[in-house]
Symmetry: C2
Subunit: 621 residues, 2 copies
């Protein structure tokens, strides 16, 4: 391709791509043409220069290479490239950013060529890493992940998490293309046009950096890809991911706005657009881009085995975090696509039980939660069922990646351990007290909070079967077994553990506080105050019907959670009863958490059995 005819073909394609970028963004009246124009040659050469192996009729084909626009705002370029590939016709291209169009402001899975939703900067490299990890370690594929990065987003720490973990896993099938167009949204980036600065950083992080002095010179760009791709397969220099670092011009091709600040995220007005077209010159409407066909591949898959039974001695307390690890290890043969990732705390989350049983399906992601979640999104994109674990408190580190995972429609499972003030001496920094709020506020995300090992095991299985995002909250300390081995725990269900026709109140709890609630019910029973107790193990979806019956029959509720009051179990119950409400007392952590023994802290936070009992009595009086 690096001959004259190849170059002139790519040049003609690049010109058409520029036309398309300007046309769709001017038509939309918004979007990021200048950020698109800087990467035209970089992406045209990649896709149509013979480097990118992809069957556009089978976007999900496992043998395809993967392309992720981490700088998702360059969506006009992304769509224009697929237009050139014959997959988006001109009429559709002109629907860019319209309501109902597959061509959203930033790429989403509405378009099947989008590997993952982007638009929050600095996330794409982790997703590409996850896909490269899948190709190299799991499905054993010759495929590559290509990730287009902007220089602004290199300020995001998540990028450097991905840089170090990709090097650690020797992912030479991961290729970053850094579009150094110098300008961010409001001015110059950290290193301006100094591509050597970015190359130095990449190399210090264990990558092979390939500088491109002029990212608009197709010869240089093609040479860089040839260098990058040979490196990946030949002997001497392999084992390192590759970063192509290209100096480019923002707005390239439209002289009036080239390399100018104040043109970020602004389409050309119609008049300027017409002038730009004239200066660009006419594009050959017959030129077409062709993608290289992907290789025939074969993936060795093990057949799923039946799910083994679970067995817990009914009188021996077990921590739900341990049950999580046991469940993963037990379920792995039944779910061949299940993998696990952990943020250097697998001996606390008990993901290590899976790691020991199935080491080839476990990935140590070190203390880098953002990249861990991003990589899991990449793995999910390739059909795996990733279970991601850390302390619940530290999953907040990846809140933005979790938010975006939903828009990628990722089949992602997360487990947060060490929830609540009841973890004890380690203190506030280690206590997950806002995780229910975080995960409840993710559209459709299932939120689970088991109180014993049996329900935890069942819920892990339900998570694996469920298509979509799900979060499991686990507890540090051992808790008594409440359920027999054959009990079912459907998503969206709950369990009524105490019930009589004379119940004067319902206590709703989950996890650690359920045991306090049961003890409170005993205290109240001793005073002849019968109460209902509900195990709300499924916080979202919530069993509104059962809660409504309890509300109607008992007339009052007390909710108890080891979480801040906002966005947690109590508010989930209130929302479920909003149509036909009864008085509800929300017990939750309302004081500054601190170090102490678990029982001391439950008491301090006023969510212990005695506080539950006294609140029930107070409500009745």
């Amino acid at each position: 391709m690096n001959d004259n005819s190849g170059i002139s073909h790519l040049a003609a394609l690049s010109l058409r791509v520029r036309h398309a970028i300007l046309a769709c963004s001017t038509r939309a009246g918004s979007g990021h043409p200048t950020s698109s124009l800087s990467a035209v040659e970089l992406m045209t050469a990649l896709m149509f220069g013979g480097f990118f192996n992809y069957d556009p009729l089978r976007p999900d084909y496992a043998g395809n290479d993967r392309l992720i626009f981490s700088k998702g705002h360059a969506s006009p370029l992304f769509y224009s490239l697929w237009h050139m590939a014959g997959q988006i016709d001109e009429a559709e291209l002109m629907t860019f950013r319209e309501f109902g169009s597959r061509l959203e402001g930033h790429p989403t899975p509405a378009l099947p060529f989008t590997e993952a939703a982007t638009g929050s900067l600095g996330q794409g490299l982790s997703i590409g890493l996850g896909m490269a990890l899948n190709a190299r370690r799991l499905d054993k594929l010759p495929c590559r992940s290509f990730v287009l990065l902007g220089d602004s987003e290199m300020a995001e720490g998540s990028v450097w998490e991905a840089m170090e973990i990709a090097a650690h896993y020797k992912l030479d099938n991961l290729v970053g293309i850094l579009d150094v167009n110098r300008l961010g949204q409001r001015g110059e980036t950290l290193h301006g046009h100094d591509i050597a600065a970015w190359a130095r950083k990449a190399e210090a992080f264990g990558w092979r950096a390939i500088p491109v002095e002029d990212g608009h010179d197709l010869r240089q760009v093609l040479a860089a890809y040839e260098q990058a791709l040979n490196l990946g397969v030949s002997g001497a220099a392999s084992g390192k991911p590759v970063m192509i670092v290209a100096r480019t011009i923002k707005g390239k091709g439209v002289a009036a706005i080239e390399d100018k600040p104040d043109w970020h995220g602004k389409p050309l007005p119609t008049e300027a657009y017409k002038m730009a077209l004239e200066l660009l010159g006419e594009a050959d409407p017959h030129v077409r881009g062709e993608l290289a066909p992907p290789p025939q591949i074969q993936i060795a898959r093990s057949e799923p085995t039946p799910v083994p039974d679970i067995a817990y001695a009914p009188d021996k307390p077990v921590a739900t975090r341990k049950a999580y690890g046991k469940a993963l290890a037990r379920l792995a043969p039944a779910f061949p696509d299940m993998v696990a990732l952990d943020g250097e705390v697998s001996n606390s989350t008990y993901a290590e039980l899976f790691a020991k049983a199935h080491p080839q399906r476990f990935f140590e992601m070190y203390v880098a939660e953002q990249n861990m979640v991003g990589a899991a999104v990449g793995l999910a994109g390739r059909g795996k069922i990733p279970f991601v674990s850390s302390f619940a408190a530290f999953l907040t580190r990846a809140a933005d990646q979790i938010r975006m995972a939903r828009y990628s429609e990722a089949n992602l499972k997360l487990c947060g351990s060490h929830a609540g003030i009841s973890i004890g001496q380690d203190g506030a920094s280690q206590m997950g007290l806002e995780d229910l709020a975080l995960f409840r506020a993710v559209l459709d995300c299932v939120v689970l909070y088991p109180a014993d090992a049996v329900s935890c095991e069942r819920l892990v299985e339900a998570m694996a079967r469920h298509e979509g995002m799900a979060y499991l909250r686990t507890t540090r300390m051992a808790t008594p077994i409440l359920y027999g081995p054959d009990e079912n725990f459907p998503l969206g269900g709950c369990k009524i553990l105490r019930r009589s026709d004379r119940d004067v109140c319902t206590i709703v709890a989950a996890g650690i506080t359920l045991h306090e609630a049961l003890a409170a019910a005993d205290l109240l029973a001793a005073e002849s105050i019968p109460v209902r107790v509900i195990d709300l193990y499924s916080i979202k979806p919530v069993d509104a019907a059962t809660l409504q019956v309890a509300a109607r029959e008992t007339g009052a509720l007390v909710t108890v959670e080891d979480h801040y009051p906002e966005g947690g179990l109590g508010e989930a119950v209130l929302a479920a009863l909003a149509d036909a409400p009864v008085p509800v007392r929300l017990l939750a952590v309302r004081k500054l958490p601190r170090s102490g023994r678990p029982a001391e802290l439950l008491d301090y936070a006023q969510i212990s059995r005695k506080h539950i009992a006294s609140n029930v009595k107070d409500m009745l009086s």
Copy 2:
């Protein structure tokens, strides 16, 4: 100090520190002695080798250097050092991790020598950066920030955000001390004992790296500090922050557990503790650590001026995001401690209005939200009132730093712009739809959501006056002016905008949806259905009294928010009414957000005027 008597004094101190670490952690039965032991010489030499200028009787004195334990789990070391400095007596040291003790599991401001709460890894360098920025750029102090880092936490991207921004601001008064003890919680870190790998990364990020081959050799350690501190002030090599990269042994001094995995976060059992004491040898109980006295300093402070009036044409819509920027610029002379930070979107959040008016008090923090929030915590720790802005969606990137800021008792103000589906064409990735849940779940954090420019200006002022964390949510599009220039907006208040004695329902809204609510009230009025309309500009604290009166008087509520239903305005209202509830209908974004025009999207999400009106009617029927 680098003579023989100095060395032997520091060696004797180090031995006492080791004794104290083992004693307090064994006594507590939990904690991280091995992670403490590796940094004993590094920290003893710093604090008592003449490098750390600090008056322990005036922890808040502006002329003090600052020391942050980013590896907060080394709290036994932290407390033992202050024990050696005569600030914690032996009896108190033995309360480590007990309920009520100032010596929590991880350092918190309960102890006045703690600059910021740590324990979630990778956050300390940003805090030190904020304090160094204050010393260099604002208060013009000769003080340094020292930050002790663990090698595990170097995997956190937030550390690399701080690395690049510290270099950008040429903070040679920032000194990192990297304790490369090779072992993380569950095994070897990314680079093991390869201190050259860490040094390479630091240098590529623009830092001066000083390797220390043996971090337990006091001569080497002292030499490193001398080199680090001279560099900071002399000509040639200054302008770069410094990272001391020291190879150390986890558990150093207790042979049985030195450099051993499986000893993370575990105290010595009593028997092993006694054996360890014997092997360590007796410590001289009379040896004392002395801190170097800080310099006399003078801070030039401008006197606050009176707050100028605000003026908006009543008939000209203005975006609340713009009012935010205008308020900052207007209020700056009245609040000399106010500073602003923005994540490379100041032309969208309108923080640029402050930046232009008061450039010396504005800090461009680039697309690195975690470090931005961490640096703001550092600035707040030094008495500044930092206002931090980005898109609401992208503040989620710093959720863990926001969570921890509360435990640092930071006087931190945050503004999230571009809230809600109503931003339009940019699509889901740019839409803040979970920010209310995030900030409501921060203990005591004020959460504000103005609907017009006047209330926004007033609320920014209220935030500046309020001691503690506060969040402001702003809207992309211009909205009509609702209030006169003299209207008051107390925190915890609300405004009743429509009211009659015959109201049959109350619509509660804020921000963009308040305007839809008012339009819905007009539609309903035309059908002779009188409704009350409340502007719930203060979502937390919430005006429960007014909501309860409205509930009692109108018997039903409809809440409307441009946010997911979980953890937002609607649930805040439900919680306020939990004692004496009435039926409430929660309108919120319950569908997958997408690109489109703002009005189309409000309609699609069923939070527009017509949906509000029809829901009111549906509730009444």
